[in-house]
Symmetry: C2
Subunit: 356 residues, 2 copies
């Protein structure tokens, strides 16, 4: 009998991992700029982190709240939102704070160790010291939603914003982009749409060639002249409002507009470059460059299933560089990925404990 | 005796132009995004708009207030600011509303005929119908500050933002850029600095080459890592705060940093392209392409007198395209340009009147 099988019995006996109760739970939180999702899962009765997960996953409850990005809403509101969404998920599960064994928070806007420390500090007011806490950028939850809780590979998120995040098997991590539109996230939905708006203005004032984007975007926004784009753009600084024009840019490219086509080609290059930077720094492709690793693809820009498919083009670019890269489109939401991560940390902790 | 000489007597007799009083004045307003300046000038006792202006110009008073860009502060505050600054300039001049014969307002954010109409509408509550009102973008005041009140040529403004504006002798006008950073004003101070910040982030995360901009900008902002740039950038959305980094970019380019050099070269191309678009649309260079016209150069980005001189490079680019273009660095401020325009409108009106 292998060591892990012995552990398995122990896990089953306790209805979970090493010394817990039947009712013990883990929480996974995906804290985005527009909304925050928390899921509550029971401790999965599994032997080790290498075994297959049950299908469907036993989700006890799901709760949704507003933004928890401290850059957007401030620290106090971010804290309140996170606490509220966890409390609601526990309550819906018929559970409570004392049943929590591990929490994984992937929160947008966590870009620096001081951000992590601050959040862990106030989480400790809620959770006693035996509860495992893991706080990271929301990209972590997105990666885990594709790898089902494994911290290995690269995630590329391209929605309103864009970021690449990667983890190596030996625990190193790296990110690329995710710095917002001012700092050059040009492959993001906002970046693509801003380039398209710019092309319209430049065509109008004589700095650039004419483009079908003009009619298409003016129609989409119910405006009568490119002059009105200035007022429209600055009337509301929301990046999502501008990023919502991406489908119009894709339509124009599909209709053969060369300016729209070029904007999308450039975005594809930017997104692939962002993944490349992470893969290189972590040597995810191994010494020979052919090593296998997942690239988790998340976000509206990559999910368009049109004839001009940005996600497919990005994968093609990445494949040319790294033949062992395989794309993954997640089947669960990032909050579930975060909960699986929380559970995986417990499993590893338990394995370490029983092997020591 | 020429017709214009006859008019001249008439002008002198009335202490101004056609039928005014000795105490009549004109107002010139330069309404910017950061401040608004109003100057009050007496009616200049001149024969026609072709005669030399007195030197120094007889400025009765100057008043300063905050922003009057309706996009920044809202319409009501913009109106209050404009009214207040005019009232203060009149009061300092020992004058009053009823002495005003003409007003020229160059207001930032006036991008559309509806903007002009709105401002003229409420100006009519203050000024009776015989007072000449002229409302335009603030670029007009900047042009007039270089041409001393003549509406001919092209002005290139490159400070925090950038815009090109031109007027042909037959009264046509055209603009280029001036649409803000989202809409591609890449030659602006904000555009240059944002490219530099982007280069630092890209070097840091592996998407771009290393650059001296990293040390230079982190030092300027008292930050310890490029990761902190994200928080710094989004802590305050003011464009001027980012544009203030332009001298650091210029320093790096002067020290031989190729990334900084490339950013400035690109900005020069953008600024020259913006002037070119206006010149082409208005045929300012004449049928043979060699016609003479002024290019008024305004704003911090063009005024740097360093070994890497953006303004000089822009002029070189423009000269290659249009040998007859001659650069003008204004010797008076834009509000004075606006006042001279107001006076010029009266002269022309008077000339039309006496010639009819």
């Amino acid at each position: 009998m292998k060591n892990s099988d012995l552990n398995a019995d122990k896990v089953y006996e306790n209805g979970g991992i090493g010394g817990g109760c039947d009712d013990d739970v883990v929480l996974g939180v995906d804290g985005g700029t527009t909304s925050t999702v928390c899921v509550c899962m029971p401790l999965l009765p599994l032997i080790s982190s290498n075994q297959n997960l049950p299908n469907p996953l036993p989700i006890l409850a799901r709760a949704v709240a507003g933004s928890s990005n401290h850059n957007s809403v401030g620290e106090s509101a971010s804290k309140d939102t996170l606490e509220k969404v966890m409390s609601e998920a526990l309550s819906k599960s018929g559970s409570n704070w004392s049943a929590v064994r591990a929490v994984c928070l992937g929160v947008s806007g966590v870009n620096h160790p001081t951000d992590q420390d601050r959040i862990i500090h106030w989480l400790r007011d809620i959770f006693p010291s035996h509860v495992k806490l893991y706080v990271h950028n929301d990209a972590l939850a997105a990666l885990a939603s594709g790898t089902m809780g494994k911290l290995h590979g690269c995630v590329l998120i391209a929605g309103t914003g864009t970021i690449s995040y990667g983890f190596s098997k030996d625990g190193r991590e790296a990110r690329s982009a995710g710095a917002g539109p001012v700092l050059g996230d040009w492959g993001s939905g906002y970046g693509i749409a801003a380039q398209a708006l710019t092309a319209v203005v430049r065509a109008h004032d004589g700095r650039g060639p004419q483009t079908a984007l003009t009619d298409c975007i003016l129609k989409a926004l119910s405006l009568s002249s490119p002059d009105e784009l200035i007022g429209w753009t600055y009337a509301d600084p929301s990046w999502a409002r501008i990023a919502a024009l991406v489908p119009d840019v894709v339509s124009c490219a599909e209709s053969g507009d060369q300016i729209a086509h070029k904007i999308l080609v450039d975005a594809v290059q930017e997104l692939a470059l962002s993944v490349k930077a992470v893969v290189q720094r972590l040597s995810l492709c191994g010494a020979d460059g052919n090593g296998s690793f997942p690239v988790v693809m998340v976000g509206g820009v990559l999910e368009a299933n049109k004839s001009w498919d940005i996600g497919k083009e990005v994968i093609n670019c990445i494949h040319k560089l790294y033949p062992g890269a395989y794309p993954v489109r997640p089947e669960v939401e990032p909050a579930v990925g975060a909960a699986l991560l929380a559970w995986n940390f417990l499993v590893k902790e338990s394995e370490r404990h029983h092997n020591s």
